[in-house]
């Protein structure tokens, strides 16, 4: 079974630039999560999708971050404009359904450095 795919693996940009990350979840998984993991911290949920609908985006900085999952499969996360404090690893995860009892499968992440 193929795992969660993410690209790019690494990205270096200057502050105020824009960046986009892509995620393809495990086939058949209805729920997709985007997490931000700052060095030395645990993953922080940015947004959770159930199929193509948003379940939770309460911690997404909506003035600069946006995410979509138009066809209920793959997803993109965008930052525009980036700030220095956005430097982190952005993890995508998927699970079969949206309830908290489901195991989450994580992708390899995208390491973003904002200069």
């Amino acid at each position: 079974e193929a795992g969660v795919a993410q690209s790019p693996r690494y990205k270096i940009i200057e502050k105020r630039q824009s960046v986009a990350f892509w995620c393809n979840p495990i086939s058949g998984h209805a729920t997709l999560y985007w997490y931000q993991q700052i060095l030395g911290q645990g993953p922080k949920l940015l947004i959770q999708f159930q199929n193509n609908g948003v379940v939770d985006d309460s911690q997404l900085p909506k003035d600069r971050f946006s995410a979509e999952r138009l066809k209920g499969v793959d997803s993109t996360l965008k930052i525009q404009p980036a700030k220095l404090e956005d430097s982190a690893v952005y993890l995508c995860a998927s699970s079969k359904t949206s309830d908290s009892y489901n195991e989450q499968f994580f992708g390899p992440g995208t390491r973003l450095t904002v200069l």
């Binding site: 997490y35 645990g42 949920l45 939770d56 995860a93 908290s100 009892y101 195991e103 989450q104 994580f106």
Partner: protein
């Protein structure tokens, strides 16, 4: 802020020794999951605890859920170099079932 608190933040262990890491919540949890993240890797699911007082074992790893469902522990016996990494607990509050990750315990092993 973090819903679940993990202690210690760092654990330096001599190979062959035992250690325990703890996860604490101020609110009752419906369930708790444990994940392991190797250096440079991504979190990988280890186990889930649901019932009050539940104890589960995976080889040298023992996971426990407190009676009040507000805390959990991971105990590793006879630590090996393969145990290196960061262990995260993720708890879901009983009132909204949203999973929240702790800051993790980073384990290093001295050979």
């Amino acid at each position: 802020g973090q819903q679940v608190m993990q202690i210690p933040q760092y654990q330096h262990v001599q190979e062959g020794e035992d250690f325990t890491t703890y996860c604490n919540s101020s609110t009752t949890l419906s369930n708790i999951q444990w994940y392991k993240q190797r250096p440079g890797g991504h979190p990988v699911f280890l186990i889930q605890l649901v019932k009050s007082g539940e104890v589960k074992k995976q080889k040298r790893l023992t996971f426990q859920f407190g009676e009040a469902k507000k805390n959990s522990s991971l105990h590793i016996t006879a630590t090996q170099t393969t145990d290196v990494g960061t262990y995260f607990c993720a708890g879901a509050r009983s009132n909204d079932y949203k999973l929240s990750f702790g800051a993790g315990t980073t384990v290093t092993v001295r050979a």
